[in-house]
């Protein structure tokens, strides 16, 4: 019988590490999104990704399914991530309002147009 490593990969449970890696990818994508998008709304989407990456960490650290020892974050993880979701929503609302205000003043949503303040 052929013993595919892929099958081995699928037959073992994943750990917190795996979740944190996914979180790291989301986080990095988010940060890069913020750093490369010239559309302010794209930047805001990057923020969402960043916060989501961190949130995934909280969920993973608090999960009893992934890690069953005394030192896990427990319910705190989920509670914190709920607050993060709420705070992210609030932040998104304000940031969007600011972006709209910017758009009204600059007639553009390009963040590279924000170049009057420097030095």
């Amino acid at each position: 019988m052929i013993h595919l490593p892929l099958a081995h990969l699928l037959s073992e449970p994943v750990g917190v590490s795996h979740y944190v890696m996914v979180g790291a990818v989301l986080f990095t994508c988010g940060v890069l999104c913020m750093a490369t998008k010239r559309n302010a709304l794209g930047v805001l989407m990057g923020i969402e990704l960043v916060l989501n990456g961190a949130n995934l960490n909280f969920i993973a650290f608090g999960s009893h399914v992934l890690r069953n020892d005394a030192n896990s974050l427990g319910l705190d993880g989920q509670l914190i991530s709920m607050f993060v979701i709420v705070l992210a929503a609030a932040e998104a609302a304000v940031a969007l309002a600011i972006a709209l205000n910017y758009y009204n003043n600059h007639d553009s949503i390009d963040v590279d147009r924000a170049d009057e303040l420097l030095g």
Partner: protein
């Protein structure tokens, strides 16, 4: 046993001397061998073919039957639980080193416990099994001929044969044979009167001269003889002699087109730079000889097998001391004598016991390594190798990528038992800097051969790094795989140059359709050099196995020595850059649209005599890392057999007490293997993707990039300003001194007469200029001015661009993380 020794030494001696015979014949009769010595080529090629046959006979006919490789199946049965599941199913030829290493890993654990207590606590561990494992590798040492005995100094022509020697013979002879065949085609211009398009005479005509076909092969034969000599040498003195011979051949070959100014300069440069390194090597040899009294590597035995004279290795790593490196009593004495003499200390002051003899050992090790720095083009003596590309391409392929430059690495590997951990650290750092510097320069080079030359320097850095980190097999393995794929790459580039008559990649493009064999064999070479393979489980190209082994060793080292984290990251970064510039080269040459239609139209595939070696080498570049199906034979298993004594142990620094050179088998621990494998794979893939995005998909515009990174580009384009730096530091002062002396000679009297007056005048001027104007005024104006300028300059960082600010968050975090991890250790 005895017959094995004599058989081996005879076979290899023949293989060694055949090129010499060819050289002598061509030297005397070359001119008469056909028109322009056409027959000389056949003679040299034939000699090399015979050498190759003899080498392979030595390997497969004598060595392997007498020293069978340990059986993989047997060990997995014994230690099955240690090995990841894919190994349990032997037919997945996943990773040969792993399979072989299974046994020592298990044994090593108890070995290390003993070592933690100190070097002396190992006596009780010397049970049979332990010893069998830690015994020196099988090697044959003997004298062929004693040149003379001067007091205690005995100069002999001796041999030291172990698996590494045989493997090197096979590798060198195989590649050399391929190159000879290739050169038969490549050098056909030399078969008739040759017009050198790059040399213009004073009358405006191009230089016309008779062909030098036979002379080329004459040099090649001499080179092969010297190279074999380095490999088979049994003592340092003999190594040195052949070392110099190799250098001379290199000089001849680089300067083959001696009429070209660039070629003769390059040849001179190579020779001089190598001398700098050899000077260090001589110091190292003196240090060794003055304290140990011998140059020989191995122990000389009489007919009954009793040791008559001890070699370097067995003196430094005695059986009683469980093969740990320890300076001999004579070394301790010597160091102490030097110390008391130079420091003028009172003789009754007690000797420093802590570092007894270690400094001397370090000097010897670093001295020998200096020679290797020169020969293997390591930083800071790497400048000669790219210039050496002035030689014909077969020379580049054989001498400057596969063999001669590898001699430095080989010597480090051969001399390995005598390097102290501190010396290894020096080696590792030199390798690390080399690999990085050269790789970055390769990014911007546009001359196809120069890209490959820098790539060679960088790969040699990899090998040195691996050796310095304790990865003996990893380094040697990479030496062999690299020889194949780099030889292949160079010959492919030669084929391209032969086809389009230019070295400049900006004039190529789209050649894939015109020269398919070259293109796809070169693709194999590129994939091999970037270490393409399926991570963790394999299979992959040959570079995949050796490069992963190096990176694993680096990670293993990094986790033991957090202070030297840069050594852990350098090979990863190097892998990224390597993948980028190699595929940049391939895409620029073979993919896309032709940049110069004229050259494209005239391009053609090379003749069969040139493409056949390419195909042969491509097969090796693909498969030299594999385990031979249904056997236990693989390159790494062979090398494992030659592993120097004592390198299985984790060794600790004496002078730098926190330095740990980890046991190489530790690097195959699943955690390290997994992380390092993925890191290597992902960075290489990222580099490849970046190259593809820029040069194939054209998502990013290279011109725009060049503009964005203008300072960086010019920094790299000018090769980190190394040549200019050396010009300023070394060459210019020499010139000035020379000129000064000349002038002094001419005008001694004048200068004495006018001197006094001038000095007085000068002094007053200096006082006025320096003190009054600079110090007094400068203190007042300068400090304020400097801070003011600094302040204004700092404003420029605040660009006003929001996205750059975001980028600075990332930079700040990363930089602070790095800074904190360094600063905190020092406080």
């Amino acid at each position: 046993m005895d017959t094995t020794a004599s058989n081996l030494s005879t076979l290899l001696m023949l293989a060694w001397l055949l090129p010499l015979a060819s050289f002598v014949l061509i030297l005397f009769f070359g001119k008469y061998m056909g028109s322009h010595g056409k027959f000389a080529g056949y003679l040299a090629t034939g000699a090399l073919l015979c050498s190759a046959a003899l080498s392979f006979t030595a390997m497969f006919g004598v060595w392997l039957p007498n020293h069978p490789l340990p059986s993989t199946a047997h060990h997995t049965e014994e230690h099955g639980e240690d090995v990841p599941s894919e190994e349990a199913h032997g037919h997945v030829a996943a990773y040969p080193v792993e399979a072989i290493s299974a046994q020592p890993v298990a044994l090593q654990t108890d070995h290390e416990h003993g070592e933690a207590d100190g070097h002396h606590a190992t006596a009780e561990h010397s049970d049979g099994e332990h010893h069998a494992n830690n015994a020196p590798p099988v090697s044959y040492f003997g004298d062929w001929y004693t040149l003379g005995q001067f007091g205690s100094l005995k100069l002999t022509i001796s041999y030291y044969i172990d698996t590494l020697t045989v493997a090197m013979f096979c590798m060198v002879s195989l590649i050399a044979t391929c190159v000879h065949f290739y050169a038969l085609g490549y050098m056909h211009d030399e078969l008739h009167d040759f017009t050198d398009p790059e040399v213009t005479m004073s009358d405006g005509e191009k230089l016309k001269r008779p062909g030098r076909f036979y002379r080329f092969f004459q040099y090649l034969s001499l080179f092969c003889f010297s190279m074999f000599g380095v490999v088979i040498s049994g003592n340092m003195a003999m190594v040195f002699v052949f070392w110099e011979l190799v250098g001379i051949c290199s000089y001849f070959l680089i300067g083959f087109y001696i009429e070209r100014h660039s070629a003769s300069t390059a040849a001179n440069k190579a020779f001089i730079v190598n001398r700098v390194g050899d000077f260090g090597m001589l110091i190292g040899m003196m240090a060794l000889w003055s304290s140990l009294g011998t140059f020989a590597f191995g122990d000389l035995k009489d007919a009954e097998g009793h040791v008559v004279e001890q070699g370097i290795f067995s003196q430094l790593r005695t059986e009683e001391n469980d093969y740990h490196l320890q300076p001999t009593a004579s070394m301790v004495e010597e160091q102490e004598r030097v110390r008391t003499q130079t420091c003028e200390l009172a003789a009754d002051e007690p000797p420093k016991q802590s570092h007894a003899g270690q400094w001397l050992l370090l000097i010897a090790g670093v001295g020998i390594f200096c020679g290797c720095v020169g020969k293997s083009a390591q930083f800071p003596l790497h400048v000669w190798l790219p210039d050496a590309m002035e030689g014909p391409t077969p020379v580049s392929a054989l001498v400057h990528s596969a063999t001669m430059v590898a001699a430095g690495v080989y010597l480090v590997g051969r001399f390995y038992p005598a390097f102290s951990p501190e010396a290894l650290l020096v080696i590792a750092y030199v390798g690390c800097i080399t690999l990085f510097v050269a790789a970055t320069i390769a990014i911007t080079a546009t001359d196809i051969k120069r890209v490959l030359a820098y790539s060679t320097v960088s790969q040699l850095g990899y090998m040195m790094l691996a050796l310095g980190l304790g990865g003996w097999v990893a380094g040697m393995f990479h030496l062999i795989t690299h020889a194949f794929f780099k030889g292949l790459l160079f010959m492919c580039s030669g084929s391209v140059i032969h086809g389009v008559h230019t070295n400049d990649m900006t004039e190529m493009g789209g050649l894939r359709k015109k020269m398919p064999i070259t293109a796809y064999t070169m693709l194999v070479g590129c994939l091999a050099i970037i270490g393409a393979g399926i991570p963790i489980i394999g299979p992959g190209f040959s570079g995949y196995y050796s490069k992963d082994a190096i990176i694993e060793q680096a990670w293993s080292f990094g986790s033991n020595n957090p202070h030297h984290a840069v050594l852990k990251w350098a090979p990863i970064v190097g892998a990224f850059i390597t993948a980028f510039y190699m595929f940049r080269l391939w895409y620029m040459t073979f993919a896309g649209k032709p940049r110069n239609q004229d050259r494209y139209d005239h391009a053609h595939e090379s003749p069969r005599v040139m493409t056949m070696p390419l195909v042969i080498l491509a097969v090796f570049a693909l498969g030299i890392g594999w385990q031979l199906p249904f056997t236990d034979l693989s390159t790494s298993a062979l090398l494992e057999q030659a592993r120097p004594v004592g390198t299985l142990a984790t060794s600790h620094g004496e002078i730098l007490s926190e330095l740990v050179i980890p046991n190489e088998h530790d690097s195959h621990a699943p955690a390290i293997k997994w992380a390092a494998g993925w890191a290597a794979f992902s960075t290489a893939a990222a580099g490849l993707l970046l190259a593809t995005a820029i040069y194939l998909w054209k998502l990013l515009d290279p011109q725009e990039l060049k503009q964005s990174f203008k300072p960086l580009h010019s920094w790299l384009w000018n090769k980190w300003w190394f040549d200019e730096l050396y010009q300023i530091i070394f060459v210019a002062p020499c010139m000035i001194v020379a000129r000064t002396i000349t002038r002094f000679d001419l005008g001694v009297i004048d200068s004495i007469l006018h001197g006094a007056a001038a000095v007085c005048k000068g002094c007053s001027k200096v006082v006025y200029a320096v003190f009054d104007q600079t110090v007094v005024d400068g203190m007042a104006n300068g400090v304020a001015g400097v801070t003011w300028d600094l302040g204004l300059w700092l404003r420029k960082i605040q660009t006003g661009n929001l996205r750059q600010y975001i980028m600075f968050i990332v930079i700040g975090t990363v930089v602070l993380f790095v800074a904190i991890s360094f600063v905190q250790r020092t406080i």
